[in-house]
Every structure is written in C-alpha cells, then in structure tokens.
C-alpha cells in the first residue's frame, strides 16, 4: 500500500513536469495581461542595478556587486550564520576537559 502510494506520487510528479516541458504555455514570453516568470511587472530595481552596477561598484559581475555592495547586510548575516553554526558544532563536539583524553 505504502509502496503503491510512493509510486503513484512519483508518477504524478513526472507527468506534471513532462506536461510542463512539452507544453510550456506562456513561460518565458513577455507578459501581456498577466505576469510571467522572467518578465516582472515592475523592473525599476533590476534596471537600476543593471545600468549602474558597473559604474558604482566598478565590477563586471553584477551578482557579486549586489551580494557584497548593494546588499552587504545580507552577506554579513550569512557570514554570521556560518559563524554561529561552527560555534554550535564546536560547542557540541569539542573536548570538554583535558583529562578526557
């Protein structure tokens, strides 16, 4: 019963993705009345980054200039999260006392 359920759910997923792959519909086309992925309605922010990124942060890689310059707080948070994770693992796994060896 459980195996049957797993097989049925996998089949439904595969059928769904195959349907989307064969018949993509409006995917990737410019939006007319409704919104489509890749063509957002408001593009002011994207246009600003794309046109000013090379001038203000003097780097060719727009992604890096967003991650480290325009949205540096985000990266600071990521680095802090990594630091906190390492601190947690170290506090769990380190040797507690010298005489445990």
């Amino acid at each position: 019963m459980r195996k049957l359920l797993i097989i049925a759910s996998i089949a439904i997923f595969i059928a769904f993705f195959l349907y989307v792959a064969i018949n993509p519909g409006d995917f990737g086309k410019p939006a007319g009345r409704h919104l489509v992925f890749g063509y957002p309605k408001y593009t002011d922010m994207d246009d600003y980054f794309i046109t000013h990124g090379q001038i203000f942060s003097a780097a060719n890689n727009i992604v890096t200039s967003i991650v480290f310059d325009f949205r540096g707080y985000d990266t600071l948070g990521e680095a802090t999260v990594l630091f906190a994770a390492v601190m947690g693992i170290a506090s769990v796994l380190r040797k507690l006392r010298r005489d445990e060896e």
Binding site: Q54, I55, F56, S57, A58, A59, N60, N61, V63, T64, S65, V67, F68, D69, G72, Y73, T75, L76, E78, A79, T80, L82, F83, A85, V86, I89, A90, L93, R94, K95
Partner: protein, 156 residues
C-alpha cells in the same frame, strides 16, 4: 582509518590543484561566477580530501582546529572592518571603487574583457569571506573527525 595507497597517491596529487582552483574562484569573484563562499568551500574540500585520505594524526601537524578557527575569525573580522571603513558616508560603502588606487580602476560600461584591478572593496570582501568559509568548514570537518575517532576508541 587510513585509505588505500591508490587513494592516498591520488589525493596527494590532486589537492594542490583543488586549492589553486579555489583560490582562482575567490580572486576572480568580481569578474566570473563564484566568489568568497564558493571558493572557500572548494578550498575546504581540498583540505577535507587530505584529512580523509590520510590518517588525521599524519596531518595533525599542519591542519589544526586552532589555525582553522583563527582563519575563520580573521576573515569575519576583516569583512566587518572593511564594511566599517566605509562609514564616512554609509556602512558597506564601496570606498575603494573608482579611486585609482589598488582595486580602483575604472570599468567601461558595457561588455568588456574585465580587469582584475577593479571592484573596489569587492575583492577584499571576497578574500575575507573565502578565508572565513574555508576556516569554518575546516573546523567542522576536523571536529567531526575527532569526534568519530573518540567514539571508536570508547567503543573498543
């Protein structure tokens, strides 16, 4: 714990290339896809290859948890200090860009081949974050291997 001679020879041959590739990803973070996080993870993978292929007690002399955590703390501090140095106008200001000094060359708008001497504080922050990520992942690997070894000893 020690792997076979084939694995050890291969890892001894491969790990310098992995480290150089990781360094390349970190340094070219403002020109090509990649950056500090990805390059740091690649470098930590090279260390992990050495630590796993050889016995940990053979490499304990130069891969120590203290050195790796020092690298991590240094990277995080360098990142925050670089961010604070832009505090003349705002936090995280790109104060080196277009200044003409190190990493301060101008970038022509549009498609260009790219120059390593550009980017302002971006390369500095990439190096700092790469150092931090390599230290953090290395510390995790070393602590977990230590823990595994202690578990084996206590089990018999």
């Amino acid at each position: 714990m020690k792997m076979s001679k084939i694995v050890r020879t291969q890892s001894g041959f491969l790990y310098p290339f992995i480290l150089i590739f990781g360094l390349y990803i970190v340094i070219h973070g403002h020109l090509t896809p990649g950056g500090g996080f990805q390059g740091g993870a690649v470098i930590a993978t090279g260390f992990a290859l050495v630590v796993v292929a050889y016995e940990y007690k053979d490499v304990r002399k130069w891969i120590t948890a203290n050195r790796l955590s020092l690298a991590e703390v240094t990277g995080l501090l360098a990142f925050i200090i670089t961010a604070y140095l832009g505090l003349g106008s705002t936090f995280f200001r790109n104060w080196l860009a277009n200044s003409g000094s190190i990493f301060g060359s101008r970038v022509p708008p549009g498609i260009n081949p790219g120059n390593l001497n550009t980017g302002g504080v971006l390369p500095v922050m990439n190096l700092a974050v790469g150092l931090e990520v390599l230290g953090g992942l290395g510390v995790i690997i070393v602590y977990m291997l230590n823990y595994l070894k202690r578990g084996e000893e206590s089990a018999g």
